[in-house]
Amino acid sequence: MALDIASETHGETRVLRLSGRLDTETSADFELAAHDLTAAGEKRFVVDLSGISYVSSAGLRVLLSLGKQLSGNGGTLGLCGLSESVRQVFDLSGFSRLFNISADLSAALGGAPVSSGPALGQAAASLLGAADKPSAPAAAPPPAVGRQAADLLGAKPAAKAGFFARILAWLKGQ
């Protein structure tokens, strides 16, 4: 997936939810989308990166540029939803301390109730007593999870099982 940008407002704040990659190919799309909004006078932004698989320096450059612009005109830029891999890139490049980074969108919006999106769904589920049921994950699970699940289910050591099965069959046959 290249890059999908969903835009919505929460009060005075413009929320941009990004999904896909933020890299050399896609960062210009994000830059243009942000530019259109700042050119229209918007100054308060939260960029939700929870759907972003990775960020390269091209993506960092656009975030830095937007952050500088907003900082210079009295605006704000908050980031949220960084995956482990994206967080590593931010840490390695010294970006983690340049930006106001929150765990999720609700926190980025100052703990105010979110009027739409997954947080509302979770709140509704909680009210309906469904909170203890497994909720849909916000992002696709990492591929290793499938393998871990396979390990847990005993699917991985198929060769060993086959080996022992053969020993057992052989012993039974004696």
Binding site: M1, A2, R21, D23, T24, E25, T26, S53, Y54, V55, S56, S57, A58, L60, R61, L64, G67, K68, S71, G72, E84, S85, Q88, V89, L92, S93, G94, L98, F99, P142, P143, A144, R147, A159, K160, G162, F163, R166, W170
Partner: protein, 154 residues
């Protein structure tokens, strides 16, 4: 009996999987870099590469291919080649191109990581990320081509 036991144990021994290799050719478009990284994602998932290693390699490839296109004067008539290799315990890539000879492993420039928002510049950050995120990073100029090798162990 001995032959039978040998066959039984020989058959049960874990067979070392052959490295899986994918080849790509890039003429110089930005979209092609994204396409390689999408293919890397599919290859890594098929090869059971852990997500952190896959993501690190995607960042490294984006940086190295972009650098070659932006600064390497890569000719449209002589595309870059990218080999992705999923081996046991490591994800590797070999990037080669006939552009301007340049060894990115020897760059002196170190990005400023300490400045505040207003002072920060982005220059040099790409290769810094490659150096930090990869376990293997080497360069040679061979047969008229820049050959870059990066690897991430897992």
């Amino acid at each position: 009996m001995w032959q039978w036991l040998k066959r039984l144990f020989g058959g049960a021994r874990a067979v070392e999987p052959e490295p899986q290799v994918w080849n790509f050719r890039i003429k110089g478009g930005r979209a092609e870099i994204g396409a390689v990284n999408d293919a890397l994602e599919r290859a890594a998932m098929a090869g059971e590469v852990p997500e952190p290693a896959m993501r690190a390699m995607q960042v490294a490839l984006d940086e190295l291919l972009t650098n070659a296109i932006m600064h390497g004067d890569v000719s449209l008539n002589d595309p870059m080649q990218v080999d992705l290799i999923v081996a046991k315990g490591a994800l590797r890539a070999v990037v080669s191109h006939a552009g301007t000879p340049f060894d990115p492993t020897k760059t002196e420039h170190r990005p400023d990581l300490e400045g505040n928002l207003e002072d920060r510049e982005i220059g040099g950050l790409g290769l810094h990320l490659v150096r930090e995120m990869m376990d293997e990073f080497s360069y040679e100029f061979a047969n008229g081509r820049n050959v870059l090798r990066v690897g991430k162990r897992f």
